[in-house]
Structures are given as structure tokens and as C-alpha cells.
């Protein structure tokens, strides 16, 4: 049965500043959606809120995965339900090797217990290694990655590839890619795009959050949504991406009677995930 992520009338604020203002969106397993919006439209807020970052305050609305309301769940419980977020700025964790971390993560996500308890048994080392090696090969990731400390001293491109590797290992039902193309040169965008393409199939639903359409040249979405001022203002097909590529956000903004305000930009600058 296909699992669906359903966002209904979601309102989110940061330090009393409303950012998401009544957002509706549904993504099924096997579908590829792109959510496009300019800076300050609430893209990262949405990604972090869906994953359960405690920094954001949910004012109202509902988010379900397979019918289960997730807004009161811990991030690890959401991960167990099959949600994955590829971070725009993955956090470095010095001293923790990629392999060690991934083994714990994979074991936790696949374990039977629903509460993500500590008693999670690790999957056998041999089995894990075999799987990791296969996934690394599939994605063209160097095996030395496994021994490196998680995102520590990684280049921008390496960080994004590490995120895609985690996505491949954790096999979520719904994956959110938060500005996965940001900060990458065109070659790196291509490599990351092709990696994600490898993973796409009937069991994976993808929400690509992006400012620029360039990643979409490699991962072709079936659905495109425009996010402005905390709301999805337009939804459609590939023609929307082409319109954006050609004319930018201004015509859409004007059509919805919106002007870019200073307050929105400031609000986004206060988000912790946006610091470099």
C-alpha cells in the first residue's frame, strides 16, 4: 500500500514571527514533487518542521504519514515512519565515523520497536558492510567515506553526497531534499542529481525544495508547487518550472498581490539552519 505524506493547513512560526501560513501539500510514495520559492518564502522552515526540529513552533494544522499524525512525534519516531530530510546544511559531528553512525541509524530505523528505544540491536557488521559497500558503489561514493567523521571537513559537494548516501541506506518512504543543489557547482549538481535518480522508484516519494530549477534538470518532477509567503500559491506540471526559469518569481508574486517584504527576509536570517 502506498504511503502518503499529507500536510493540511499548516501554520508555523519562529520567535512569534509567522513563516508558514496555511500550507497544504500531499506527496505519495513513488511521486516526485518540487516545491519552489524565493528566499524567505518558508522553504527551510517547512523542511525542518516536517522533520521535527524543536526550534520551530507549530501554531496549527496537521501533518500525517500513512494516516499517523506526526507533529507530536520525536524526529527519530518520524524517521521510523519513513520520513527523511536531506539537510541544506548538514551538521558536522567530529569523532563519529560515517560507518558507525550509519549502522546505528539503519538499525534504529529498521528495528521492530516503535518507540526508537535504546535497546535497538545493531544489524550484523558483515551484513551492514556488504550493504554499505553496494550502496557506495551504486552512488559512485568513495569507500574512504565510511571511515571519515560525519560531515567533518567535508566539502559542500561531499556533504550533499553523504546525505544522498544516508537516504539510500535508510530507504525512507518520503524524502525531503532541502536545497540539495545550493552551494554546488554545476558538476556537483549533476553528480548529486544523478545519485538521487538512482534511488527513485515506486517506493520513494520525493519533495525537492529548491530556489533554482537547475537540479530539476536531473531529477524531473511530476508536480511543481510554488511557495510564496508561507503558502503554496500555484501547483502544476513542468511548465511552471519553465515559467520560473524564464521570468523568475515576480510575475507570480504580482499575480497573487504579494511584494517581498523586509520582515520575511529578516525572519529567514534568524533561522539556525541558515547560518554558514
Amino acid at each position: 500500500m502506498s504511503t502518503e505524506l499529507v500536510i493540511t493547513d499548516l501554520h508555523v512560526s519562529v520567535e512569534d514571527q509567522p513563516i508558514i501560513k496555511g500550507l497544504n501539500l500531499s506527496i505519495k510514495q513513488g511521486e516526485i514533487h518540487a516545491l519552489m520559492g524565493p528566499n524567505g518564502s518558508g522553504k527551510s522552515t517547512l523542511a525542518n518542521t516536517l522533520m521535527g526540529n524543536p526550534f520551530y513552533t507549530i501554531d496549527s494544522g496537521e501533518v500525517t504519514i500513512g494516516g499517523v499524525d506526526i507533529l507530536d512525534l520525536e524526529p527519530n519516531e518520524r524517521a521510523k515512519l519513513g520520513l527523511f530530510l536531506a539537510f541544506q546544511y548538514p551538521t558536522a559531528i567530529p569523532g563519529v565515523s560515517m560507518a558507525n553512525f550509519l549502522r546505528m541509524a539503519v538499525s534504529a530505523v529498521r528495528s521492530e520497536s516503535s518507540n526508537g528505544s535504546d535497546a535497538t540491536e545493531l544489524i550484523p557488521m558483515r551484513e551492514f558492510r556488504r550493504e554499505l559497500r553496494a550502496k557506495m558503489k551504486q552512488l559512485g561514493v568513495d569507500e574512504s567515506f565510511a571511515r571519515r567523521y560525519l560531515n567533518d571537513g567535508f566539502s559542500g559537494g561531499e556533504k550533499k553526497r553523504a546525505e544522498v548516501l544516508q537516504l539510500a541506506m535508510l530507504e525512507p518512504k518520503i524524502a525531503i531534499l532541502d536545497e540539495t543543489d545550493s552551494g554546488l557547482d554545476i558538476d556537483a549538481v549533476r553528480i548529486v542529481g544523478e545519485s538521487v535518480n538512482q534511488l527513485i522508484g515506486p517506493n520513494l516519494g520525493v519533495l525537492i525544495i529548491t530556489h533554482y530549477p537547475r537540479l530539476l534538470n536531473y531529477i524531473r518532477p511530476q508536480f511543481i508547487h510554488i511557495l510564496l509567503d508561507g503558502r503554496v500559491v500555484e501547483s502544476g506540471g513542468w511548465e511552471l518550472a519553465e515559467l520560473l526559469e524564464e521570468k523568475g518569481y515576480d510575475p507570480i508574486r504580482e499575480a497573487h498581490g504579494l511584494t517581498e517584504t523586509v520582515a520575511e527576509v529578516e525572519a529567514e536570517e534568524t533561522l539556525p539552519s541558515l547560518r554558514v
Partner: protein, 474 residues
């Protein structure tokens, strides 16, 4: 059965070996003499004990952080030694020194289970010493090491078998008796501990192990470590301090002296795992010769209050020391460490990394000093202390220090950090399925990793990991 002799005979027998009732707090001159007599020590040792006793009596116990008694030390660099450790709750008269008699060394309280496990897991090709409540319980050294001339025995035996070695090195070169009251106390009342002597050119592949345990209430451990590594020798020593149970009060007042001769390599690993009712005082000092190396790992996990002075003297050109510290405190533990990288000769290098994790209401102090003497041209010294706080109520005081009196080709780097666990890191790991606790554990493991990866002994790493896991689960 005694046969009845004349009164004179009887009294002279009593005088030569008077029965001594051990009393808590009996750190008296008479007791010093009693120890020396029961151990049948040479006169010079008795005199040294008594001289140390005079110093002990002369120096005040530093009472409060505000009183200036903490200033009353002879050496400039440890002037504020007691400043951050409050000794008011410490009552010496609750503890008693060990009254050794020849019969006592054979018996004593049963070994704690933790020690029994250690004994059974011993490898036959090395050496070990087990000491409990100040009494040596087991001394073993592999035959081939003995044949190579390695000497490894408890200090009382060493006094008889290697008197000249003990006389020339015991508290004469590395740890003087007059730096603070507890060093003097140690010099006067020391019992147990060991002498390790590795002769010129001898290389030991397998680590020697020492277990020092406290299990009886109120006992004091005053064991002395003396490691003499002759020219070109190599040795690894793993010394572990542990308590028999979790709630027996105890006192450790120790001294560690490590003498690394030219071209010698010494690895010294100290694991301190006293229970939370033990007071721990120790001065530990190494003197490192020309082109010699010391790798010194110091792990402090236990004790209620600990005041430690760890010094490395880079005494001759080309000498090198690596000082690694791994500390994890919880509850109301108070661990206060002074470190000193003493560059006295040119072309010497030192590298210090101490990492501390704090839980609950615990507190750590690290005061480090790199001292480059006028003769220490071309020194390369590094010093870093990082603290990770798992609780808002924990407190860490990292105090790095530099004193550079040479000018040519000096490179000194130092730094210190202290901060809570990074919420972004926790969120990141949780988003991958790890529970909050598992995320925190992984971050702590990662924090200790730079120290862990430089510990070459797998057995030590896994033992430390167990202790860390245990602390995290509490």
C-alpha cells in the same frame, strides 16, 4: 604458646616490636617510626620519612579558597594550586594509615570481584602487581622478563632488593616532598606501590599491569609509583585504581615518578576509577631525557574530590611528551587537575590534549601551563582542553597558560573550550532514527574520539568505553 621468660626479656621483646593499635587519623610521628620499623627499612628511608613528616607538620592544610594557605607552596607554578578545590569537608582523622605487619601482607580482606576478574584475565607473559588497602596481594613477572633484567616488585620488597636504586630515585628527582601537604604526607607515610626498573636497551612488548584497590572503610592508599626506564628501553605500564564497592569511604594520597632516560620510550596509562566517596590526591611527575619519549594517558572517572598535579619535564634536547586526558564526571564530583609542560632544554616537544565530559552537578578544573625556560629554544608545545557539558548545572573551568622565557624558534599553541551539547547535532542524529539518548551517547563518543584514537592498547580503549557507557547510562 609462649613460654614464660623473665620480665626483662618480655619487655625488650615488646619494645623491639611494639603492638600498634591502628586508629583513624593517627598520622603521627610514632606511626611513621612504626611503619619504618615493621618494614625493617634502612635508616636513610626512616630519616627521609621523618624529614617528610616535619614538612607535613609545617605545611597547613589549605582550608578555604579564600584563605591564603593555598599560596603557601614553594614553587611558583603551583601557587594557586588549591584555589579551586575546597578542602573544608575533608577530615583526615576519618582515615587511617595502614599498619603493616608481616602477617597482614598475606591475609587481609577478600579481594573485590572486580579485582578477581582482573586476576583471572591475566596474561602469563607479562607482569602484574595487585594491591589492596595498601597491602600487596600479588606480584608476578614473566620469567623471560626477569632474565632480561627487568625488575618489577612492590616497593617494600624493592627497598630490600634494590636499595641503591630506590635511594637515588625515591622522591629525590621527580616528586619532592615539600610541594604541598599531601606530598609530604605521602613522603612520611607511603606504603606499597612499586618499583619498575627496565635496564638499558630492554624492550617490553606486553604491558605490565598494576591494580590498586581500596575496599575497607576509612583505609588510606599511600602507594608510590617509581618507574625507571634506562637508556634505550621501552615499556608500557597500565595502572588502575579502583574501589571494592560504591559506598566505602577512602583516601588515596599517592605519588607517581617516571624517569625516562635518553632514547627510552615509556607509555604510562593511569585509570582512576575510585568510587564517589574517595578523596584522591596525587602528584605525578615525569623527567624525560635526550631523544626520549613519554606517552602519558590519564583517565579520571572516579573519586569524590580529586586534586592532581601532572608534570612533564622536558629535561634534555629532543625529548618529547604526549599528555592525553580523558575525564568524565557526574553527580557532585569535583576533579581538579594541574598540568605542566616544563621545557627546560632546546628542541623539545610536548602535546597535551585533555577532554572532559560533565554530567549533573559535577565540576572540573583544568589549569595547564606551558613553561619554556631560557634554555628551551626551538620548543614546540601544544596544549588543549575541551569540555562538553551534558547538564546546565555542571561547571568547567579550563585555564590554559603560557610562560615563555626563550625567544628562538618557539612555537606554542594553546586553547580551551567549554560548552553544552550542540542541539543541531542532536536533531541531526535523531532525524536519522537515533533516540535522544543514543544521539547524546554518540556525540560524547565522538568528543572523546581524538583521545581514544591515540590510545594504542585495544584493551584500554574497550575498558574506557565500558566506563563511559556506564556513566552515560546512569
Amino acid at each position: 604458646m609462649y613460654s614464660i621468660g623473665t620480665e626483662t626479656e618480655l619487655s625488650s621483646e615488646l619494645n623491639s616490636n611494639p603492638p600498634y593499635e591502628v586508629q583513624a587519623g593517627d598520622f603521627s610521628r610514632e606511626f611513621v617510626e612504626h611503619i619504618s620499623k615493621t618494614q625493617d627499612e634502612p635508616r636513610w628511608m626512616r630519616d627521609r620519612r621523618l624529614a617528610a613528616y616535619d614538612v607535613y607538620q609545617r605545611l597547613p592544610i589549605p582550608k578555604t579558597p579564600n584563605e591564603d594557605t593555598w599560596k603557601r607552596t614553594t614553587d611558583m607554578h603551583v601557587q594557586d594550586y588549591w584555589r579551586r578545590t575546597d578542602l573544608r569537608p575533608f577530615k583526615l582523622d576519618r582515615y587511617h594509615p595502614v599498619a603493616l605487619s608481616p602477617s597482614e601482607s598475606a591475609e587481609g580482606a577478600p579481594l573485590p570481584d572486580t579485582l578477581k576478574d582482573r586476576l583471572t584475565s591475566l596474561n602469563g607473559d607479562t607482569g602484574q602487581i595487585v594491591q589492596q588497602d595498601g597491602i600487596v596481594r600479588n606480584v608476578a613477572l614473566a620469567e623471560d622478563l626477569e632474565r632480561k633484567g627487568v625488575y618489577f616488585a612492590d616497593m617494600n620488597t624493592a627497598l630490600k632488593e634494590r636499595p641503591e636504586l630506590v635511594e637515588s630515585h625515591f622522591m629525590t628527582k621527580a616528586v619532592p616532598v615539600d610541594w604541598n601537604k599531601f606530598d609530604a604526607l605521602h613522603g612520611a607515610f607511603w606504603q606499597g606501590g612499586y618499583l619498575l626498573h627496565v635496564p638499558k636497551g630492554v624492550v617490553l612488548e606486553v604491558p605490565l599491569r598494576v591494580f590498586v584497590a581500596l575496599s575497607e572503610a576509612g583505609r588510606t592508599d599511600l602507594s608510590h609509583t617509581l618507574i625507571v626506564a634506562d637508556e634505550g628501553s621501552q615499556v608500557t605500564v597500565l595502572e588502575e585504581h579502583l574501589s571494592g564497592d560504591t559506598d566505602t569511604p577512602g583516601l588515596h594520597c599517592g605519588a607517581v615518578e617516571i624517569l625516562v632516560a635518553d632514547n627510552a620510550h615509556v607509555n604510562y596509562v593511569g585509570l582512576q576509577r575510585w568510587n564517589l566517596r574517595t578523596w584522591n590526591f596525587s602528584t605525578q611527575r615525569a623527567i624525560i631525557g635526550r631523544d626520549a619519549q613519554l606517552r602519558w594517558v590519564s583517565s579520571a572517572l572516579g573519586s569524590r574530590v580529586s586534586k592532581l598535579n601532572q608534570e612533564s619535564v622536558l629535561a634534555a634536547s629532543g625529548s618529547h611528551v604526549e599528555m592525553l586526558g580523558l575525564t568524565f564526571t557526574h553527580s557532585r564530583q569535583h576533579l581538579d587537575i594541574h598540568t605542566y609542560q616544563d621545557h627546560k632544554a632546546p628542541h623539545t616537544t610536548s602535546d597535551l590534549l585533555y577532554r572532559t565530559v560533565l554530567k549533573d552537578r559535577s565540576r572540573s578544573v583544568w589549569a595547564g601551563m606551558i613553561h619554556v625556560h631560557p634554555g628551551g629554544q626551538h620548543t614546540d608545545a601544544y596544549q588543549k582542553n575541551d569540555n562538553l557539558m551534558l547538564s546546565d548545572h555542571a561547571r568547567a573551568d579550563p585555564l590554559p597558560g603560557l610562560e615563555i622565557l626563550a625567544s628562538e624558534g618557539i612555537r606554542c599553541t594553546h586553547g580551551a573550550t567549554a560548552g553544552p551539547i550542540d542541539k543541531d547535532q542532536v536533531f541531526y542524529l535523531m532525524s536519522r532514527g537515533l533516540s535522544h539518548d543514543a544521539a547524546e551517547r554518540l556525540i560524547v563518543d565522538g568528543f572523546f574520539e581524538p583521545v581514544m584514537q591515540r590510545i594504542s592498547l585495544e584493551s584500554v580503549r574497550s575498558q574506557l568505553q565500558q566506563s563511559i557507557d556506564h556513566k552515560l547510562a546512569m
